[in-house]
């Protein structure tokens, strides 16, 4: 009959109160946001707060929940990029770096296999000709000695290198298992570097995540344009130090095997022929800061880690008097002659750059180089005004829709309509409360999802009320009619909502961006509306019934 256990009542009211408390900060969005931002800023500064920050923190009581619904890029404005990592570029770097090692290993067998020579081969492979083709087995053995087992479950028993021989040519490339592993590492590394670069500019809550096999999704709220974001993260900042073989004015000079020709950055028409394998790379940097050189021009001072410092020291002491190139992203920044061995592990890059350029280069170097190039597949920019317009429009529409639905419900069901309307208001509060707690992102279609929920949320109540009407017509007592009404409507409510939930689930799994946001608000709306329509209205009704004990009710 019409009874609800005391613990259930407490639970229902408790859930509503908690939900509404978590929704509350969203009513004071700007204030709470300033409060949260100030807390983060103070934490970063190590606890010291400026008077403005203290004022901002005081704008919202600390004991209140302060989580907000994240506004999506289409509402807040910002840039969205979908980048594909060119994972196979890494294979080439890996294989090319193997050459000196392989040369040493094969040289040790010179008595047996004779002279060796690197020959041209497809990208990502390393081909070596040996003099005594009949001794190939020895060469293969030596090359295989460089391989190490791959440490994954699927790749168990496989080596990282694949060595094949044909005639007098020995070919080395990465094995499939190693490629898969490398891909994974490349993506993770790229993610980390993109994150660090975006963090350096200090925008609020960027979303940087892996999508699928080889993609990275980057969403940065508040940034002016996708182009700006691309300039920041798209620069590879690949810094290397390579030995110089020759310099000249011919861009088409044919380099030898394992050599490259690169242009000079500040001297047009000058081209350097360099050894392709670098002595030290930017990955071995530990720090880079902007500074000035001895002439007072902007420069970047850097420091190597111990391994880098050792290599750098060994090379410079063995090559005093030789030129040596500093290369950034495929251009020779400068090619100074080594005057003396540099064993301290620190150095300086100077060239034609202004202070801003030096600062940017330092940021890029500090964040490290992207292991592979990024190709941008999708980019979206939304201006902040457009976002604000959308929020305003969405707000007005929601309020009008809300009032209209409430009016319709009260006109149709009277007091019971009022119950349903109270439930609807609580429902909205719960939706926002949950969205805030789970840190979901509200997008424009998400607002549409909420408006749709406003319309559909009353469905469960309509089902119940219609059933109660029917029961009343069958002249049962009011208490029994209400009870039966809820019971009979239940299976329809469950079926109807589960099917919608299935759709929301599929939208969530397959959708991307805004569509996902729509799925999230829709599913949360379904769950909370079933709760409020069944339990909250029931509690309201039972409480009213206990007070009034009406002989007759009209629905």
């Amino acid at each position: 009959m019409l009874q609800i256990d005391r613990w259930k009542r407490i639970l229902i009211i408790g859930l509503c109160v908690i939900g509404l408390a978590y929704a509350l900060p969203n009513l004071f969005y700007k204030r709470v946001e300033a409060h949260n931002d100030a807390i983060v800023a103070v934490e970063r500064a190590g606890g010291a707060a400026t008077p403005e920050q203290e004022a901002a923190i005081a704008m919202w009581p600390g004991w209140m929940p302060a989580s907000l619904v994240n506004l999506g890029l289409d509402l807040r404005g910002g840039a969205h990029l979908l980048a594909e990592v060119q994972v196979d570029q890494v294979y080439k770097a890996r294989i090319d770096a193997l050459w000196p090692e392989l040369r040493t290993a094969l040289a040790a067998q010179r008595d047996v296999i004779g002279a060796i020579r690197r020959v041209d081969s497809p990208t990502g492979t390393l081909a070596v000709e040996i003099e005594n083709a009949d001794q190939m087995a020895v060469a293969v053995e030596a090359a295989r000695g460089l391989a190490t087992p791959v440490a994954t479950l699927t790749g168990a028993g496989q080596d990282d290198l694949e060595v094949t021989a044909q005639g007098n040519t020995l070919t080395v490339q990465l094995s499939e298992a190693e490629k898969a592993l490398t891909d994974d590492r490349t993506i993770l590394q790229s993610l980390e570097i993109v994150r660090r670069r975006v963090d350096e500019v200090g925008t609020r809550e960027p979303t940087i995540m892996r999508q699928g096999e080889d993609r990275i999704l980057i969403q940065v709220p508040g940034i002016g344009s996708a182009a700006e974001l691309k300039a920041l993260i798209g620069t590879t900042a690949q810094l290397t130090f390579n030995p110089v073989i020759a310099s000249g004015g011919d861009p088409d000079a044919t380099p030898g095997i394992g050599e490259i020709v690169l242009p000079s950055q500040d001297q047009p028409g000058v081209f350097y022929t360099l050894e392709e394998t670098p002595v030290v790379t930017g990955e071995e940097l530990t720090n880079a800061v902007p500074g000035t050189d001895q002439n007072g021009a902007p420069s970047v001072d850097f420091r190597f880690n111990p391994a880098g410092a050792r290599k750098f020291g060994e090379y410079t002491s063995a090559n005093v008097g030789q030129p040596f190139a500093i290369i950034l992203d495929g251009e020779v920044i400068s090619a100074p002659v080594i005057r003396q061995a540099i064993t301290t592990g620190s150095g300086q890059i100077s060239g034609s750059m202004d202070y801003e350029g030096a600062n940017r280069l330092a940021v890029l170097l500090r964040a490290g180089a992207l292991p592979a190039e990024l190709t941008f597949l999708e980019e979206r920019t939304v201006g902040p005004e457009l976002g604000q317009d959308s929020i305003d429009a969405g707000k007005t529409a929601s309020i009008v829709g809300f009032v209209a639905v409430i009016a319709l419900m009260i006109a149709s069901y009277g007091l019971f309509g009022v119950f349903a309307s109270v439930a609807l208001i609580i429902n909205m509060g719960l939706v926002f409360g949950i969205l805030s707690v789970i840190g979901a992102t509200l997008t424009l279609p998400g607002i549409a999802g909420i408006v749709l929920t406003i319309g559909m949320a009353v469905d469960a109540n309509v089902l119940v009320f219609e059933r109660i009407r029917e029961e009343l017509r069958n002249s049962r007592g009011p208490a029994r009619a209400i009870d039966k009404g809820y019971q009979n409507a239940m299976s329809a409510i469950v079926d109807a909502n589960i099917t919608t939930l299935i759709i929301a689930g599929i939208l969530f799994m397959l959708g991307s961006g805004p569509v996902k946001g729509f799925a999230v608000t829709l599913s949360i709306g379904i769950i909370t509306s079933v709760f409020t329509a069944i339990w909250v209205t029931r509690l309201l009704m039972v409480t009213w019934f206990e007070r009034r004990r009406p002989r007759q009710i009209e629905v």
Partner: protein
């Protein structure tokens, strides 16, 4: 006596099958017309599915589409579409246009140079013009997006038919699916006919329609199942009519509240999501129609197992099963 708004009288006895052939024929005709529209006009795919770039321009001066087009002529961008956007929510000096540039040949990724060139050219025409949103999708992603869109619609149709089949009888499942396909197809037909932009959000809208339409259908089916057990001897046709009549006021009420909320969004929600909201609104109307006129007709044609001599495990223990075999 308090005032009550009664959209539907208490006791309706409408014969929904009176125009059975007419309504069914009408639905079939609409579906055929939709297919024709889709084949003849095709869908006006947004850049999500076609690849390319859209730039939203906003200016304080009235827009001269011709001048815009002329300014972009020398850039040799191939297919460029410029549409002016009108919306009641705009200010008096707010003039918005949408410039769509199709994917450039051979470019796997997005070219920022193109966008910069277009922006510069337009600013030449009208210095007040700003670009509140710029979106580019490469051809690789757009292809995948089409795939996922198709998969998601198919997946939801399958998932729902399985659920209905588990909860009801297979005939209901068939009826529900036919109704869903009917709704999706006709909505797409309308999109093709009026050349409304069809993008990722529209697919989300289609799926929402599927969700709403099935919601409606399930409520009718649920009542039908209940009545089939209650009135074992009544002809199927009459049980169906009774069930629809009994749930009619609920159907009208829920569609009403949902429509009221959606119309508010349609009118006041701004032009950015208008096609999305339009799809949902249209779908709700067609979905309500189909749950009454399409889904049940299919079930009526297929017939339902009426011999409940084997007690339905779900209903076991309820009063309807106590009388033994009919």
């Amino acid at each position: 006596m308090a005032f009550r708004l009664k959209l539907v009288p208490n006791d309706t006895k409408i014969d929904f099958f009176k125009w059975q052939k007419l309504t069914f024929g009408f639905s079939a005709l609409l579906m055929v017309l939709s297919v024709i529209c889709l084949l003849v006009f095709g869908l006006n795919f947004g850049i999500d599915f076609r690849g390319g770039t859209t730039i939203r321009t906003e200016a304080t001066q009235p827009i001269d589409v011709g001048a815009y087009r002329e300014a972009m002529q020398p850039l040799n961008l191939g297919d460029v579409a410029i549409t002016q956007v009108f919306d009641p929510s705009f200010d008096a000096d707010q003039h918005v246009a949408q410039v769509r540039i199709s994917a450039q040949d051979g470019a796997e990724a997005v070219t920022p140079d193109t966008i910069l060139a277009v922006e510069a050219a337009l600013q030449e025409v009208d210095p007040t013009v700003t670009f509140p949103s710029v979106e580019s999708v490469g051809p690789k992603v757009s292809g995948e997006l089409i795939q996922t869109a198709i998969y998601s619609v198919l997946a939801s149709l399958i998932a729902i038919s399985v659920y209905i089949w588990l909860r009801f009888e297979w005939q209901f499942s068939v009826g529900a699916i036919v109704a869903l396909i009917h709704d999706v197809l006709i909505t797409m037909g309308v999109f093709a006919l009026f050349q409304i932009k069809f993008d990722l959000a529209t697919v989300a809208a289609l799926l929402t329609i599927v969700g709403y339409s099935i919601n409606d259908t399930v409520v009718v089916f649920d009542r039908l199942r209940e009545n089939l057990m209650k009135f074992k001897k009544m002809p199927l046709r009459d049980v169906m009519n009774l069930s629809v009549n009994e749930t009619l006021s609920r159907t009208v009420m829920t569609s009403g509240t949902t429509l009221v909320a959606l119309i508010a969004l349609l009118v006041l929600g701004g032009d950015v999501i208008r096609s999305f909201v339009f799809a949902i609104t249209f779908g709700i109307v067609i979905g309500t129609y189909s749950s009454v006129y399409v889904a049940k007709n299919v079930v009526l044609w297929l017939g339902v197992k009426r011999d409940w001599s084997k007690p339905d495990p779900k209903a076991a223990g309820t009063q309807f099963n106590e009388g033994g075999t009919p």
